[in-house]
């Protein structure tokens, strides 16, 4: 393995890898082998991958090399190895959503997002671990075991896209795909010290993404840097006729926006997002990040999002209702797990679902079924939708005074595996800063902005108005230019604490 490849992988930048592959400095196959080696070496401990598609990755790497050798044009991500959350349907490759109920399910079709990444030349290394059906924020709800935080293997990586965040942080892929329903990209990005982006609802197609809560599910990328995330989002964003909630507006130039600067931008800081329960080290890191952006040329204004305290309740009413509905299809009739030796149709349903679902999906199916029961629609789902409207209005009003809003991503840094598993409510409450933009469908990202005294990453969240992704990348780009958090690496995995 050439040192050129090893240093490329250590820094792991999407554009650098693609440029090196295109320029013939490295072969795509070499890059793939280097990542496969790292997975073989480290993933036994970390548990990021549910399935490594080594043969497929090698084949696709050779394909890129052959295309380049023949002079054919390749995509902007040619030769970039990526990891894919196991919620994306991949044709011919088992897709389980980290649930026993989908064990053995091999989709006969490909999600729009993974198809677009393939078309851009990216090379899928395998399917990443997650909380079962994306329900959770610690990745402890996977039916196939937890993911460990690369910064401290005793701790959680966050969730539900825990595998996606940890794999990027550990250098087990250059970038990855996740999904964010109430914070499932942003929160693990914060806990693992990487950048994760959730675009405007409808900006990235949900076709082929296994549904958790349809009106809240946002597919999106993870990268080490803001630019990596911008490259990934550029490849996957855009209208898709297969998703009726897809937006037809043209896609912005996210990579260019990273260098756009923040001069003249107004950054709103909502006091409601610096509330009780926020770890003091996180608060000071986020306030320092705001100050950094001010010094880079932005102005800082206080804004108010008064309905924030209702967001978690509204989110759990809406998301559980939609989840109970979306998970009704797992009945053992057509695919996935099916109970044997049953005496009746009712028993087939009860046993299939009882055996197939883990406790968190069961809990949410029960909650969602309760929420939608006849006669209570207005009291629960209807009221939650009205709260959702008020929260959306809050943001709209705030954006009259600012261009982007800055907040902490998570009130807590990575906690110990098992520490909070018996208190689901406490975990639900930790979603407090991410669910608001989810309910409003707003673009938001999490970016590293420091480390705690325990050496754990801290992330800040940037939120923009609908289709304001470029603003997020301008702020994120300016922040990265002024700081070096994105260059930190877990020593045990890279042999160094800082890479260029």
């Amino acid at each position: 393995m050439s040192s050129r490849v090893e240093s490329l992988v250590a820094s792991g930048h999407v554009a650098e890898i693609a440029t090196a592959v295109r320029g013939g400095q490295v072969r795509a196959r070499e890059v793939v082998e280097c990542y496969l080696d790292r997975i073989a070496k480290h993933d036994g401990t970390l548990g990021c991958y549910l399935r490594v598609d080594a043969d497929g990755a090698r084949r696709r790497g050779d394909g890129v090399d052959a295309a380049l050798a023949s002079g054919a044009t390749v995509g902007p991500l040619a030769g970039v190895p990526i990891g894919i959350k196991d919620i994306f349907c991949t044709e011919g490759i088992e897709t389980t959503c980290a649930s026993k109920i989908l064990k053995g399910f091999i989709p006969p079709y490909e999600s729009t997002v993974t198809a677009r990444l393939s078309a851009a030349g990216a090379i899928g290394l395998g399917k990443l671990n997650m909380d079962e059906f994306a329900m959770g924020s610690s990745n402890e709800n996977s039916a196939f075991g937890p993911v460990r935080n690369p910064w401290d293997p005793a701790r959680v990586p966050g969730g539900s896209s825990g595998g996606s965040a940890a794999a990027v942080a550990a250098g087990l892929c250059a970038a990855s795909l996740g999904t964010d329903t109430g914070g499932s990209i942003r929160q693990p990005a914060a806990l693992c010290g990487v950048t994760g982006v959730k675009a405007t609802y409808g900006r990235v197609s949900r076709w082929g993404v296994i549904a958790f809560a349809s009106s809240l599910d946002h597919p999106g990328p993870f990268g080490r840097t803001i630019r990596d995330a911008a490259w990934m989002l550029s490849a996957i964003a855009g209208y898709d006729p297969n998703d009726s909630t897809s937006i037809a507006a043209p896609v912005g130039n996210y990579v260019q926006a990273c260098a756009g600067g923040v001069s003249g931008l107004r950054v709103g800081v909502p006091e409601e997002y610096f509330s009780v329960g926020l770890e003091p080290e996180i608060e000071s890191a986020v306030r320092a990040a705001v100050e950094t952006i001010r010094q880079a040329g932005a102005t800082v204004v206080p804004v108010s999002l008064p309905h924030t305290r209702y967001a978690v309740a509204a989110y759990y009413l809406i998301s559980t209702a939609e989840a109970a509905s979306n998970l009704a299809r797992y009945d053992g009739i057509r695919y996935g797990h099916r109970a044997t030796n049953v005496g009746s149709l009712e028993e087939l349903y009860a046993r299939t679902r009882g055996e197939g679902f883990g406790s968190e999906p069961k809990r949410r199916i029960m909650l969602g079924t309760y929420v939608l029961r006849s006669g209570y629609y207005d009291a629960y789902y209807g009221k939650a939708q009205r709260v959702r409207r008020l929260i959306t209005n809050d943001f709209q009003a705030a954006f009259a005074d600012c261009d982007v809003i800055a907040t902490p991503t998570s009130p807590i840094s990575a906690f110990k595996i098992g520490e909070k598993i018996s208190d689901p409510l406490a975990l639900y409450l930790a979603d407090v800063y991410t669910v608001g933009p989810s309910l409003a469908g707003l673009p938001a990202l999490s970016q590293p902005c420091g480390f705690s005294s325990a050496g754990l990453p801290i992330g800040w969240q940037l939120i923009a108005p609908p289709l304001g992704e470029e603003t997020l990348f301008r702020v994120g780009g300016a922040y990265e230019a002024a700081t070096s958090w994105h260059q930190r690496r877990p020593r045990a995995l890279f042999g160094t604490e800082v890479v260029a």
Partner: protein
């Protein structure tokens, strides 16, 4: 207890929900074929099978059909409507929910008009909503159950009437009228035996002269006009018998068994599903603007009641003829096509007679009338009617010509020429034959002149015999009149 007996004491209150399968090429939310008769599970795709990650994509052709139906019944097409999810578990329902409409149906109000007991009649509609059909469970003889998902996702319009029907006959006529309407609109093939039109009936009874509704039962699985009548009648009897024994009606869903002519309870109100409706988050609301409405309106054909009125008013057809000719889309279509030929406008009644007496007698299914292989296309019938009217062929021989046209697929003029069936109207030739017949029968001539006018028929018969039936009867009677004076 006769039905008249029961009805003298009890007044039925009936509301119908008719599921109209829309004749789109593809399913309502996916590109699979919506055709009937494909090998089991041959018309499926990842969405139909509810594979995870699939999303519905609305087929606008289905919406357009629903809009046309809404306009045809005079309903209000909502400018915005949406789909909802209706949840229940059953193997033929792949997603565990049906995408249907709940609080915002595409059409509200309107009514179905038809002739009932000889009078124009209108049954008000509550609403028309769109939804997807379910698949079919098949219970094999070896005890296994199989599921065919071909029907899953086929678009339906559910037409919901007000509880305004008061008899089983009225209910059957309502369904018949709705079938003619949807076939006229071309939005449903109306094949009840294939399930293209399926009916659920809500039935209750109340003592005559009282106002409050009784407890209702919902009858499911009613798939023909006869079944509508039989199932509703059976339910009226069943409820009357219970009430007259002092028992109560239980609100329940009952399944009609057409073979045995009875219904059986499926589930009571206590076991009723909680469908947990909520707006379908995968589909944005549907907006129907004025332009769409105007365009749909411009594509509406003449509706059955309007056609019936036109036949009576502009052609002067008796009501009975107008009813027959407008009863099926294809009959009216055939009649109108023939009517469009030169000279036919003034011969509407004649043409109607030929269609009703000769053509329809040879057709078992009205759809044969639009078949390219129909032996007598409208133009050929128009020609025959013209030949008879001009006197080229006699009315009696005309029927023979019709039969030959049907059997041999030839035009009327071709048959008349080939078989020499043209009437002998040439007065010189006829005169000679008449003179000969009069001369050959002096006794009869004497009796005729003495006042036995019935002998006219004898002379005509003799002349027809001589001419092989081709003598023009009018000309014959004119000549005989002169010779026998």
């Amino acid at each position: 207890m006769s039905i008249a007996d029961v009805l003298s004491r009890w007044e039925p209150v009936i509301g119908l929900e008719v599921h109209v399968q829309l004749a789109t090429k593809t399913k309502i939310f996916s590109p699979s074929s919506a055709a009937f008769g494909i090998a089991p599970n041959g018309a499926t795709d990842p969405l139909v099978l509810a594979l995870p990650g699939t999303l519905p994509r609305l087929n606008r052709a289905a919406v357009d059909m629903a809009i046309r139906l809404g306009l045809a019944v005079g309903g209000r097409v909502r400018p915005e409507c949406r789909f909802s999810r209706k949840h229940y578990f059953y193997p033929d329902l792949p997603k565990g929910y049906q995408i249907s409409q709940f609080d915002e149906p595409i059409v509200e109000g309107g009514g179905i008009e038809f002739l009932f007991e000889g009078k124009p009649h209108r049954v008000a509609l509550t609403r028309i909503h769109m939804e997807e059909d379910a698949g079919k469970n098949i219970h094999a003889s070896d005890g296994r159950s199989l599921v065919d998902y071909n029907r899953a996702g086929v678009p339906l319009c559910e037409v919901v009437s007000e509880p305004d029907l008061r008899s089983a006959e009225e209910a059957a006529e309502y369904v018949r009228a709705l079938r003619v309407l949807v076939r006229t609109l071309g939005i449903c093939d109306g094949n009840m035996e294939e399930g293209s039109l399926r009916c659920d009936a809500n039935v209750s009874i109340r003592p005559r002269g009282t106002v409050p509704y009784g407890t209702r039962a919902e009858l499911k699985n009613i798939n023909s006009f006869k079944n509508v009548k039989d199932a509703v009648t059976h339910e009226i009897f069943r409820q009357a018998a219970l009430l007259e024994r002092g028992e109560k009606i239980v609100q329940e869903t009952r399944l009609w068994d057409a073979n045995r002519g009875v219904s059986q309870s499926m589930r009571s109100k206590e076991d009723a599903h909680d469908y947990r409706y909520f707006p379908e988050p995968d589909l944005p609301p549907i907006h129907v603007d004025e332009a769409w409405l105007a365009d749909a309106r411009s594509r509406l054909p003449e509706l059955p009641m309007a056609r019936m009125a036109r036949y009576q008013q502009t052609l002067g057809l008796p009501e009975q003829d107008a009813v027959v000719l407008s009863a099926e889309r294809e009959i009216g279509g055939y009649f109108d096509a023939a009517l469009a030929h030169p000279g036919m406008k003034d011969l509407g009644k004649r043409l109607a007679n030929w269609v009703m007496n000769e053509l329809l007698a040879r057709v078992t299914d009205p759809r044969e009338l639009v078949d390219a292989n129909l032996p007598i296309p409208p133009a050929n019938l128009a020609e025959l009617v013209t030949l008879v009217e001009k006197g080229t062929v006699s009315g009696k021989l005309g029927k023979e010509v019709f039969a030959k046209m049907w059997d041999e697929r030839l035009t009327a003029s071709a048959i008349v020429e080939r078989d020499g069936l043209a009437q002998v109207s040439d007065s010189g030739e006829l005169e000679g034959i008449c003179v000969q017949v009069v001369a050959a029968n002096p006794d009869e001539v004497a009796r005729f002149r003495a006042g036995d006018k019935k002998l006219q028929g004898f002379f005509v018969g003799q002349i027809m015999k001589q001419t092989g039936g081709k003598a023009n009867p009018k000309a014959v009677s004119e000549i005989l009149g002169r010779l026998l004076k």
